[in-house]
Amino acid sequence: MSIKVRVPTPLQKVTGGKPEVEAEGANIKEAIENLEKNFPGIKERLYSEEGELRKFINIYVNEEDIRFLDSDKTALKDGDVVSIIPAIAGGLADHEGYLSGF
């Protein structure tokens, strides 16, 4: 089973500059664990130290926000597209490092 994951610019440092990567997993949590193996560091950017998904990053399965589905237990099926969408403020983007710089 293969899931396509769209990676936003600030996270592409972790994926070696790739805007799109493949992941395996029956749900979001498994897919992120799977990504972590190939791209170490991605998990801590998506989850807080308390193990919760960060509130300034949303994860979508196809067109739907997983917060309104089953959070990180949202089931995935072959061909699903997962999008990671961080809050961006715009302009000079003086917050650039908030995902890539820590």
């Binding site: 969408i85 715009g90 000079l92 650039e96 995902l99």
Partner: protein
């Protein structure tokens, strides 16, 4: 309202559209729109709204034009360097269309002045560049029942949506919290493709006109993502969060807060 002959001629290409017509053009001429930020996003928004004949355009910005702005902020020219952005903007807008009343707000938007400033307008266009102002604009719009046309950009990517409560979601439904301060190094410029705010701002201006004339489907409950490198447009669904602290079922935020403290960073 009677159009002058000049107006009938100026707005002819609108008036012949069935979706706009004389009725829609009259709505545009009577509309009051506040642009927060007269920079990269504000430039195309202001120019198109002025060209369309939006009756009252408020410009809120306290910055002066810098040479490094000119790569994308098409309201300003080399001659405007060091002038206040809103004064430079006013000159362009009034020379483009004398029908438009341009109101200047040379100030930083803060909790103490935001309710009064935004209260005088029908539609608020958020083209700011920092999180404290985004949350402040959101909360004022929810509390006052104003429509917030939101656009943001990052390098080659843009996001556009329309926040319209009580029926649609607000910015807090989308992002309950800003990135924490530990992850926000200050004043680190990331760069932005100069034409990107042109695309995103023009989409925002389109939403404003649609909202004024009441035609089409505005981006309420939809987040439009634009990727300039891939030339990719996608729409995601935004849900109203029943637990939203300001527009949810049991709101806990009933008045404005300290947004700099909330975001843990200085406003810029």
């Amino acid at each position: 309202m009677d159009f002058t002959e000049d107006q009938i001629y100026r707005y002819a290409r609108h008036i012949i559209l069935p979706e706009v017509g004389g009725v829609g053009q009259e709505k545009i001429l009577k509309a009051r729109v506040l642009l927060i930020g007269a920079g990269g996003l504000g430039s195309p928004i202001a120019l198109y709204l002025a060209a369309a004949g939006v009756g009252k355009i408020g410009l809120l910005d306290f910055d002066v034009v810098d040479r490094s702005n000119l790569q994308r902020q098409i309201l300003h020219t080399t001659k405007d360097i060091d002038r206040p952005k809103i004064e430079s903007a006013r000159d362009k807008l009034t020379s483009m269309n004398p029908d438009v009343e341009v109101v200047l707000h040379n100030t930083r938007l803060e909790s103490s002045n935001a309710m009064e400033l935004l209260g005088g307008y029908d539609i608020i266009v958020d083209g700011t560049d920092n999180f404290p102002t985004r949350y402040l604009v959101n909360d004022v719009c929810v509390l006052l029942g104003k429509t917030n046309v939101h656009g943001s950009i990052f390098r080659f990517e843009g996001q556009v949506t329309v926040f319209k409560t009580p029926d649609g979601p607000c910015y807090r439904c989308l992002y309950p919290e800003p990135p924490p301060p530990g992850m926000v190094p200050s004043c680190q410029e990331a760069g932005v493709l100069g034409v990107l705010p042109g695309v995103v701002g023009t989409l925002q201006a389109t939403e404003v006109i649609k909202l004024i004339i009441g035609e089409g489907e505005p981006l309420i409950g939809k987040l439009l993502l634009y990727d300039a490198l891939k030339t990719d447009f996608r729409k995601l669904n935004l849900r109203k969060d029943p637990k939203c602290p300001i527009c949810g079922e049991k709101p806990t935020i009933k008045e404005l807060i300290d947004y700099v403290e909330f975001c843990g960073m200085p406003g810029s």
